[in-house]
Every structure is written in C-alpha cells, then in structure tokens.
C-alpha cells in the first residue's frame, strides 16, 4: 500500500455565513487548497464531499459543490457520518489513493446549518440518536445525550462543574486567537458558571454552536506529493469504529467505547503505545461538541488514566506548554461545529500546526512532528482517529 500525504489545505471563516450560498462557501476552502498546492481542477482525479444536510436545501450536495468548483466530470460522492462526516470523507479519498486507484484527490467538508431556523435545527439534531426509542417517545436533544454521560461521569469520578468550565475557558482562549473561529472572544469561569442550562448538567457555554463553514484538503500519493511540495504532511494511520444507536445499549457512560476502539486501532498501525500516547504527539484536536466530550477524549485516547481526564482539564495540562496541547484552534466549542466540515477542519488545523503555520498565539511547539485528530459522530455512533506526521511513514 502506498503512502498518502496532505499537499494542500483550505479553511473558510466559520460562523453564521449567510453572506454566501453553500457552494460559494465550499469554494472558499477549495480555492485556498488548490492555491496552496498550486494545482488546477484538471489535476484533481476524484473529490469527496462531506455534508450531513437536512437543514440545507440541496439534496445532492456533492454534485452542486462539484459544479460550482469546476470539478465536474470527476468522480464524486457525498459522505455522511454525523459529526464525523469530515473524517469519513478524508477516509474515502485516503483509501482510494492508498489502494493505488488514483493519485490526487480533493476532500471538502461543508455545512450550512443556518439555512434552517434554530428550533428546526435543534429538532433535527435531536433525532440523530435512535429515532423511535429515544426521540419520538422521549425527546432527547443532542446536548441531552452528552449530558447523560456528564451526569454519570460526575457521579463516578467526582468531576465538578468547574472542570467542565475549564475546557470551555481554554477553548475560548484559543478561539479568540483564531481568525477563522466563530467566537473570537475569551470567557471567564464566572461567565461560564452563570450561563443558561441547556440539558443539565450542561450549559450553553458547554456547547458548541450551530455553524456554517467549509474546509478542504488535497491528498496525493507519495510519488506525486514529492513533485507538489517539499513539506508534505503524511497520514500515518486511521482507526475507525462504531457504537450503538441506542444509548441504552452501551455499557459505560463515562467514556466513548467507539473512540477507544478506534484509537487502539490507529495506535496499533502507527506503533504507538496507548498508555503513554500523549508523548508521541505535539498537538491534538479532539471532539469537544460538549465539554464533557473533550474530557472523555483525554481518557479514550490514553492521554489521561480512566477517571482522571477532568483533572487534566482542571490543571490546565492541555494548554500550549502543558502535557499535550488540545484544541488550540478553539475546538468545536469556540471555532464552531459545521458538522460536515468539522473533521476536515481538524485535519487542516493539525497540518498547519505541524508546518508551523498556525495563527499567532495558537502555535504549539513541534518536536516529534506528530499530531492527532479525534472526531466522534453522534455520541459515539461513529469514531475516526487519524494520525499525522511530517515524517514519512515506514510502511
């Protein structure tokens, strides 16, 4: 199997982007990625569009985006894996290149959630668990799903509200320094504690916002990548797993089993030891759709021992200069969470980090040349863990 490298990245400003249509938004990211790689559309052999949709009008987003970006008649598909859609789109292109079918592929994640009014978006996301047994009868909302985890975690490990708050404070601190972020504003613990409950124990400031945004990547095979750039970022490995649709069928509510399974798979392929995984990485982007998700991610990725993720947050170990910098682009919490774009955005952030191209005040120290993304779809319905490196993988 061949090595696959990232040779171009693109990222739109996230937020309410009703100044552009969905395809115009996608183009902002695609254009940037093409320019970075110094490629033209005719060089792209295949493109994948990550988009969840429902809230936006176009039913065939891959085709609409392809037409607008002048990628037609190249092969395409639309990919959906809930909030991990972007990572699933990367997977499709990554595997096509790895298998030798194509040499250059473009991945674009795009979501324009503001095409529907907020109440409808809340309604639609709430239906994304198991429809009949959880939504139709019991009206769980998306924050509600994660709140179940937060309550169980608090009861078992004595996590405090302030521990969740420290994740929000950190992510806003970095979001304030990221010009692409939806919220470029720091928050205090006091503001956090006063924020309105959404699904207790989670508050508004525990939650990522409803967002519009796009991100793009150009992937190439090793041979072609060498011609395009002298600073490729390699995809070292990827781990994938799934969880049950019914939350009640999960055994533990203090960690996301699918994340843990996917992490173990990615680590095994990259020859990384789970128990001190954090030592391998200079920077990580983890799925913080809600603050509790980031704390569980620390444990599911082996950065902290079971039951100690909240202590990592409390002690500020995930700031730049700490044990391992996490979500220093602002995370989903402050950068925003345009569902289909999120996974691609994470890959863009880590790639730029590894190349010392992060925004001022958000650049981590790069020593090992390795980074990781952790992208969860639903509440562990899907999990994608991807490892990136500036060093060429040996296999």
């Amino acid at each position: 199997m061949r090595n696959v490298a990232i040779v171009g990245t693109g990222h739109s400003k996230f937020g309410v982007r009703n100044d552009v249509s969905m395809q115009e938004l996608a183009w902002e990211a695609v254009k940037q990625a093409l320019e970075e790689a110094n490629l033209e559309q005719k060089d792209i052999q295949y493109f994948v569009v990550g988009n969840v949709g429902m809230w936006s009008a176009e039913e065939l987003p891959a085709v609409v985006v392809g037409e607008y970006c002048d990628l037609t008649p190249k092969g395409t598909m639309r990919v959906e894996a809930a909030c991990a859609t972007g990572s699933a789109a990367i997977r499709d292109a990554y595997q096509a290149i790895k298998a030798g079918e194509i040499d250059v592929a473009l991945v674009v994640g795009v979501e324009q959630m503001s095409q529907s009014p907020n109440p409808q978006v809340i309604e639609l996301i709430g239906r994304a668990g198991n429809y009949f047994w959880e939504f139709e009868n019991f009206g769980l909302t998306f924050p509600g799903y994660y709140a179940l985890y937060a309550s169980a975690y608090m009861a078992k490990y004595g996590m405090k509200e302030e521990d969740l708050g420290s994740v929000a404070v950190k992510n806003h601190y970095y979001g304030a320094r990221n010009p692409y972020a939806q919220f470029q504003k720091e928050i205090t613990m006091e503001e956090y504690l006063k924020s309105k409950p959404v699904a207790q124990p989670l508050k508004l400031l525990d939650s990522s916002p409803i967002t519009d945004g796009a991100a793009a990547l150009i992937l190439a095979s090793e041979e072609v990548a060498r011609k395009i750039t002298d600073s490729p970022v390699w995809i070292v490995s990827q781990g994938v797993a799934s969880g049950t649709a019914n939350l009640s069928r999960r055994t533990d509510f203090t960690g996301i089993e699918a994340s843990y399974v996917a992490a173990k798979e990615a680590y095994k392929r990259a020859k990384i030891d789970f128990s001190d995984a954090w030592r391998y990485f200079d920077v990580a982007d983890v799925h913080d759709c809600f603050t509790i998700a980031e704390i569980m991610a620390y444990e599911d990725l082996g950065f902290a021992k079971r039951g100690e993720g909240h202590l990592m947050a409390r002690n500020g170990e995930t700031y730049i200069g700490g044990k391992i910098p996490v979500n220093v682009d602002g995370g989903l919490k402050a950068k925003g969470h345009p569902i289909g774009a999120t996974g691609v955005s994470m890959a863009v952030s880590i790639t730029r980090q590894l190349l010392y191209r992060a925004h001022k005040g958000t650049q981590a120290d790069i020593r090992n040349g390795m980074g990781i993304t952790h992208n969860v779809g639903g509440t562990g319905h899907y999990a994608y863990i991807t490892i990136y490196s500036t060093r060429r993988p040996s296999s």
Binding site: L140, G144, L148, K196, S248
Partner: protein
C-alpha cells in the same frame, strides 16, 4: 398546552411569517429579506414541507400489546439467552427469529440522567423533563422519562406504564421510589 394548541401556535407564527413574505414579494417582486442580525439578503424558500414518518412495527407488535396490559416486554433468544431491549424479533448472533417475549422487571436504578431545558419544537408543549438511563434489576438498560423530585445517579426507580398526556398514547415512565 395541548398538542393542537401548540400546533396552532406554531402554524400562526408560520402564517404571520408567510403573510409578511407575501407583502415583500408584492412590493419588491422577490421573496428576498434582509437577515436581522447580519443584514445579508436571504431568499426565503417559497416551497414548504411538513412530514410525519410512518414506521412499521409488525415484528414487535407484541411490545405494544404488552403496554395495553401494563407490561414492559423485551425479547429473549432461547438459544443464547440474550435479552433485547428495545425488543427485536431477530437474534443476529444466532440468526434465529421469533424470539421469546418476556416481561421486564419493574425495579431499577438510575445510571445516567439529564434535565432537558432547551426542548425540540415537537416537545415544546411539555415542561422541562428528565430523561435517564435505568439499569433494570435483570441488568438490561432502558431509557425513559423519570418522574419525581431530586433525581440522582443511583436513585431507585419503579417502572410504570402510563398514558403520555396530552397526546394520550401508552408509554412507560420511571417513578423515583
């Protein structure tokens, strides 16, 4: 508020919005309005969809018969002993169907819960409700609403089949003991 009152309220809001849009079209010739926050011109779709899904329940219809008798039923594979809740009539592990129907015990303990404060539109006629996952005394988890004061992880609860008002359909609820 009853379901139809909620619907009427939502429909009234939609009607007012559409009437406003009609006026915009009349005066400008286009369904384009400026977004209140950003000022950006937005084309408001003139086509509308309302949708209620229809899902087949034939293979688990015994579950609904059970509710009529005040019982919460699950299925059990006679070959491997797995209990399925939500119930399903196929055991994919053993590849057998027509599983045995069993009654779930009524006693359980809360293992996770939340209070839903920001509700979906279709639940907006309820006051804030508690949703939890309860471990039933046979070890199987069931998700449902929890009624009672001061719900906690570890609270003992008892299952009850009730009519969900104001819709009036049969469902189940957990009451804190």
């Amino acid at each position: 508020m009853s379901v139809s009152e909620t619907r009427d309220k939502i429909q009234k809001e939609i009607s007012a919005y559409v009437k406003n849009l009609d006026n915009v079209i009349k005066s400008t010739g286009l369904p384009v309005v400026n977004d209140q926050k950003t000022g950006n011109p937005i084309w408001v779709g003139v086509r509308e969809i309302t949708l209620r899904y229809q899902f087949p329940v034939k293979k688990v219809s015994k579950f609904f018969e059970g509710l009529k008798e005040g019982k919460l039923l699950a299925t059990k594979c006679q070959k491997c002993g797995t209990i399925y809740f939500p119930p399903q009539d196929d055991c994919p592990k053993c590849r057998v169907s027509n599983l045995e129907w069993i009654e779930m015990p009524k006693e359980g303990e809360v293992i996770a819960f939340t209070v839903v404060n920001v509700k979906p539109t279709s639940f907006s006629h309820y006051s804030d409700y508690v949703v939890g996952i309860v471990r039933i005394s046979n070890g199987v988890n069931v998700l449902g609403w929890i009624k009672g004061n001061n719900v906690k992880v570890g609270s003992k609860v008892k299952l009850e089949v009730v009519r969900r008002e104001p819709e009036g359909y049969l469902t189940y609820v957990f009451n804190v003991v």
